[in-house]
Symmetry: C2
Subunit: 223 residues, 2 copies
C-alpha cells in the first residue's frame, strides 16, 4: 500500500505536504500514463502493478527500456526540467499510482529541501541506469550476449539468483524481449532454440529453468 518508498522517510511536515498534493489514481492494464514528446504534466509514483517504459521511432520500431516496478517514480526528470517526457509509460498490469501535478511538485521541492535531495538521488539513479543501457547498446554486444544478460538480470530479481539453477517466469513475448534488447523477434526465437539445444536453459510452459548459469554468464561477458 505505502509503496512510494522514495518519499517515505521524510520528516512529517514534508510527508503531510505530499499527502495533500498527491492524487491517488488507478489505471487498468494497457493504460498510457504519458507519451514521449508530451509536455510534462507531473510525476507518477507507482504503487502497484508494472509499467512498461519505452521509446519509439517514427517507423514504429520500439525499444523497451525497462519494466518499472512499484516504488518507482515516473516522469520525474521531465517534470523537473520542464522538457518533454523522453519516453512513453504504459501499464501492463492494473496499476495504482500517485500522481502529483508539476506545479505542486516543484513547489513541494522548493519548500522541502530533504525531498529535493531525495529527488536528486533518484535522478542520479535513473541517469546511472541510462548509462548502463547506453553501454549495452553502444558497445555492440551481440544479440545473444544481450539476451544472456537479460536472463541473468531477471533471475537475480526473483530472489532466485542464489540458486544453482534459477527458475523464472517469462512474462513477456519474444516480440517484447526483442524490443528490450533491440533485435528482431525471429532472432530471439532462434537464440532461445540455441540455448535449449546447448542445454543452457530448459522451458516448461512459461517457466524458464537456467540449467547452466556459468555458461550463460560466459555468453553475457564474452561476445
Amino acid at each position: 500500500m505505502r509503496a512510494d518508498r522514495i518519499f517515505c522517510d521524510l520528516d512529517t511536515a514534508a510527508l503531510q505536504a505530499f499527502e495533500t498534493i498527491k492524487y491517488a489514481t488507478a489505471y487498468p492494464k494497457g493504460a498510457v500514463l504519458f507519451v514521449e514528446g508530451q509536455a510534462p504534466r507531473g510525476i507518477f509514483v507507482l504503487c502497484k502493478g508494472r509499467v512498461k517504459l519505452s521509446i519509439c521511432a517514427t517507423d514504429g520500431k520500439t525499444l523497451i527500456l525497462k519494466i518499472a516496478e512499484p516504488g518507482e517514480v515516473l516522469g520525474l526528470s521531465a517534470t523537473v526540467s520542464g522538457k518533454p517526457y523522453e519516453l512513453t509509460a504504459e501499464t501492463i498490469d492494473p496499476c495504482q499510482v500517485n500522481f502529483v501535478k508539476r506545479e505542486d511538485f516543484l513547489r513541494f521541492l522548493k519548500e522541502h529541501s530533504d525531498a529535493c535531495f531525495k529527488v536528486a538521488e533518484q535522478l542520479s539513479d535513473k541517469y546511472n541506469n541510462a548509462c548502463h543501457e547506453v553501454r549495452s547498446l553502444g558497445l555492440s554486444h551481440s544479440a545473444g550476449e544481450k539476451l544472456a544478460k537479460l536472463l541473468l538480470e531477471w533471475s537475480s530479481r526473483n530472489g532466485e539468483s542464489a540458486k544453482v539453477e534459477p527458475r523464472l517466469k517469462l512474462a513477456l513475448t519474444h516480440e517484447e524481449i526483442a524490443q528490450m534488447i533491440g533485435t528482431s523477434r525471429e532472432t530471439v526465437t532462434r537464440l532461445f532454440a540455441d540455448l535449449k539445444k546447448r542445454q543452457i536453459v530448459q522451458s516448461k510452459g512459461s517457466t524458464l529453468l537456467i540449467r547452466n548459469k556459468a555458461a550463460l554468464k560466459t555468453l553475457a561477458t564474452n561476445g
Copy 2:
C-alpha cells in the same frame, strides 16, 4: 573565468559557501579526471577547455558520449548517488576546473536548497541527453544517419546553424567520430567520401562546408 554557470545565480550565501569548498585546478591536455568504475571523489566544474566523456568495453572498444564544454558539471550523478563514476572523463585541451570533494559537496547541497534544486535540474538534463543517446543507439539508425545527425548538431553549435551553408571545424579524427556514432573508422571514411561525391558536403583541410543542408537533414531522419 566565471564559467561555473550552474552555481552562478545562487544567493550570495550559497555562492560564498561554494567558493570556500571549491579547488581551482588546472589540467594539461590528455589528463584523466576520473575513470568509469572509480568510487566518486567529487564533482568537476569545467571552466575552460573541453573534456571527452566516454565508456569503454573490456575489449578496448570505446564509445564517446559527448565532448563537454565549459560550464558543464562532470561526475555529478556519481557524486550524488555514491555509485561509481559511470564513464571516463579525459581532457582534450588544457583545462581549468573547479573541483569539489564529495563530502563538502553533499554538505553544501543539504545546506543550500536552491543549489540542490539546480542540481536536480542539471541531473534531469543529463538524463535527457542519455535518453537521446539511447534512442539514437537503440533504434538502429544506420551509420550514415547518425553521422548526418552529428554533423547537423555540430553545425548548430558554432552559431553557423542559421546559414544556408554552415561551415564547421572537424576537430576530431575519423576514428574518434566513429567512436561517437558507434561504428568503425573505415565506415566513417567511406561515409564522408559518399557525402562528398553526392555534393552534400565539401572539405578544405579540417574545415567542412555543408553544401546541401536539406539533403543532410533527410539523411538524418529517414534511415
